[in-house]
């Protein structure tokens, strides 16, 4: 039963991950963006736990637990707190309008699928076709970082890019070595903290969170 439906459910979760990446790309509200990020983390947790059950690799259970603690609870909590402390509830301002962003997003998905197709031919796992989706959601998060002008959505884009990377590692090739996974998880946590401080610093200097002001650091 599990062996039959497991890979299919992982494919379904991959599709949901892609859907969430698009939802984040089109989301205007900052609080919904954080909730979507938490949902993405939860999908990642489900897929990691499922891969662990399918392949019977004990260390994947650990990384699923780390995902649950870190990406579903801790990081969204930190982000919520950051929003409260900064006292910002604005709608996110995008540099390109959203329908155009979505169309570029589709092109990115096609690109990612084409790039991943020859690679996934080489992989031996049942769920190798999810590699393209993982790559696509990474590229979409990357584009979210590019198209948003405020600092907080950029941080969320960075964190969700790491979600895509993690999904590629677990679903497509059944996990990285434990040390690497823990290292990456720690890196993300530290990055979130540093970026939090960075955001405060930007606001201190410019009285705004718009990163376009950083360009003005050049000599006039």
């Amino acid at each position: 039963m599990l062996q039959h439906f497991g890979p299919q459910v992982i494919n379904l979760l991959a599709a949901v991950l892609l859907l969430l990446a698009f939802a984040m790309l089109s989301q205007r509200r900052i609080l919904s963006l954080i909730n979507l990020f938490a949902a993405q983390g939860f999908v990642l947790f489900l897929s990691t736990a499922l891969v662990a059950a399918l392949t019977d690799q004990k260390h994947l259970y650990v990384s699923a637990a780390v995902t649950l603690v870190l990406k579903v609870t801790l990081l969204p909590w930190i982000l919520h707190r950051l929003i409260r402390r900064l006292n910002v509830k604005w709608d996110v301002e995008t540099l390109i309008n959203i329908p155009t962003t979505m169309l570029v997003g589709i092109l990115l998905v096609i690109l990612a699928f084409n790039l991943a197709a020859p690679i996934s031919q080489l992989a031996g796992t049942v769920t190798r076709s999810t590699l393209g989706i993982a790559l696509a959601s990474m590229l979409l998060s990357f584009m979210m970082m590019i198209t948003r002008s405020k600092a907080v959505p950029q941080v969320i884009g960075f964190l969700s890019m790491e979600n895509g990377l993690f999904f590629a590692a677990t679903a497509a090739v059944y996990g990285m070595p434990m040390v690497v996974e823990l290292g990456v998880a720690l890196d993300v946590l530290v990055a979130a903290l540093i970026l939090g401080i960075f955001i405060f610093e930007i606001r201190e200097r410019f009285d705004t969170l718009d990163t376009r002001h950083l360009e003005k650091l050049k000599e006039h």
Partner: protein, 315 residues
Amino acid sequence: MSAAGIAAQFAELALAVLLAPLLTGWVNQCRAWLQNKSAPGILQPYRVLAKLFQKEVILAHNASPLFRSAPYLIFGSLALSAAIVPTLGTDLPLNEAADAIALVGLLALARLFIALAAMDVGTAFGTLGARREMMVGFLAEPALLMVFFTASLISHSTSLSTIVEAIAHRELVIYPSMAFAGVAFVMVSLAENARIPIDNPATHLELTMIHEAMVLEYSGRHLALIEWAASLKLFVHMCIGLALFFPFGIAGGGDWLGLVLALPALAAKLAVGGAALALIEMLSAKMRIFRAPEFLGTAFLLAVLAMLVHVMLEG
């Protein structure tokens, strides 16, 4: 084509025409419950139709024959589209004649006539409603076609019966692409049926309405037919959704027992679908008309993604 197929065909058509107002009544009732209002009776749409059929028809002086014939054409094309969608059995004689693309064409035909009739008398509201309807239509149609194409890719056929048979009567496989297509289809159906994020079916506030603005000039039996056709459109869309995404319980060819059993299954699925529609409407707020292209653009994008995901994951 078997005797059971012909029986299923007629039963489906009669069922759609007779039960469509009941579905509308059920949705209205669910919505009233969710809003903590006392609900009108579930038979209220029938009473409205009966009342309107008894009333006198009042026509504008400059109304053309098109204006008078449009309600019959709209009702006819929607009834025909209801006959194409497999709801009880898949062995339908009409399925040889029309596939999913023809179904989209029939729905477009109904839209074309209602828009033409709205512009016919030349009032400002009618024209405004017609233009909005055509804008929503031209954005919704490609998305609907893409949803059908995704289902066609899975079943290797554009015939709705074959699609239903391929999805329902095979061993259970999870199609991630159908999840995308399902979301896209719900968005398209909300827009096509003038439901809440795009249009409010209960509104008579002139500036925001789409469907109601088009039918302002109609009265008497014409209005009754148009209202009935609107219920039928909702029924057809819900049946398409059930046929594509939850086709379980629909009988195969020549299966009399299956046909009898399909009826309660359909009723249960429609009841759940209607309640879900009322819930969606409760949870969302009406959008500005300028946000409609974004909403339907997202639906189109999801439908395209569904095809891409199918090629990537299931190909």
